[in-house]
Symmetry: C2
Subunit: 207 residues, 2 copies
């Protein structure tokens, strides 16, 4: 699958790959991001990745395997801001304000598809794609879990009223972010998303 590299860094033998794997992966990510899994055809993929069918299977295994890899890439690159902000050393309210505002920015970046690749993916799909649907749903659950963990931490240091329902509050901000992702895909501007984010912060629990 992956080109085998000597621990010393020297290439192994055999014909070298004629394309940059990361670049191809990134091109595939943008396509999947824009069109979803089922909406992206094999031919479109190898076209934007600029490789042939055989190179595709040689390098990535299958369409589904590529999609998995793309999700990992998305989480670590395009979605990295999410966990970064949750890890910020700041007041809990500030963290969530940054989070929602960052979403407004990230969801409307030019030169990349609008919205979040994970939030809106595979919510409706055919039964033979249920594995993927479950994978995406679990990614969303994980993201919400990360928010819940940060809120819990905030509760423990007194940033939140002690009777705050952490899970529910995380679900609220999860919902808001997913809704913002849909709005972004429908063409909402960054300013509009910012206003939504601001209203979202009005819901922050008061002591």
């Amino acid at each position: 699958m992956t080109p085998k590299k000597d621990p010393s860094g020297r290439r192994g033998r055999g014909r070298p790959q004629s394309f940059d794997r990361k670049e191809a992966l990134c091109a595939a990510m943008r396509l999947f991001w824009d069109r979803g899994y089922e909406g992206t055809s094999f031919d479109d993929l190898i076209s934007v990745m600029k490789i042939s069918a055989s190179s595709f299977y040689n390098a990535f295994g299958s369409k589904e395997a590529l999609y998995h890899e793309v999700i990992e890439t998305y989480m670590s690159v395009a979605g990295g801001w999410f966990l970064d902000i949750l890890g910020e050393d700041a007041d809990t309210r500030t963290v969530f304000e940054d989070l929602t505002r960052a979403a407004a920015v990230e969801f409307t970046r030019p030169n990349q598809p609008a919205g979040c690749m994970i939030s809106v993916a595979a919510t409706q799909c055919s039964p033979n794609q249920h594995r993927l649907r479950d994978l995406l749903a679990s990614q969303r659950t994980q993201a919400e879990g990360a928010m819940a963990a940060r809120l819990q931490q905030g509760l423990e240091v007194g940033d939140l009223p002690i009777d705050t329902d952490i899970e529910a509050l995380a679900a609220f901000y999860g919902s808001l972010l997913r809704g913002m992702a849909v709005q972004a895909r429908d063409g909402a501007s960054q300013e509009r998303l910012m206003e939504i984010a601001r209203f979202g912060m009005n819901a922050w629990p008061k002591a």
Copy 2:
């Protein structure tokens, strides 16, 4: 297409349809609702509708025409609660509280697919389905417009601070409802959605 009925109610001539058109439409709606447009295959459709391919084309024209009809059906039947509540004669805040709470109930009804058929549809799709994507996006925009109209009305009677940004507030509740729809599809319970709705109402503008 549609079976021609005499104004007097008597059937015209020709062999009568052997199936109930509304029932078939409803079955198609549930399938589209669950799987989306591209995720629903022709064979699956005629299977749950219990009709043959020829009857299908005779009665509905094409898969896309059926989808359009299904959307209309959804808006008037399954989504009727939405406009009903917006039309309620009540305090504006109460209307939106009812709206978000009703969403929690409607999105988790047993015996029907979870979430909203419109909110999560065609957010990611192939380029040859852009007509449908635009249609769905415009339905979402219309729904938000209806909320904005109700808010404007509320502003005029003093239910809202005069400096309230109506469009933005409508966008906020639009986002929240769409996010709740995704949550519902991922399996969130009615109680969980209720909690989200409650937090959503905490964002209601204060004088």
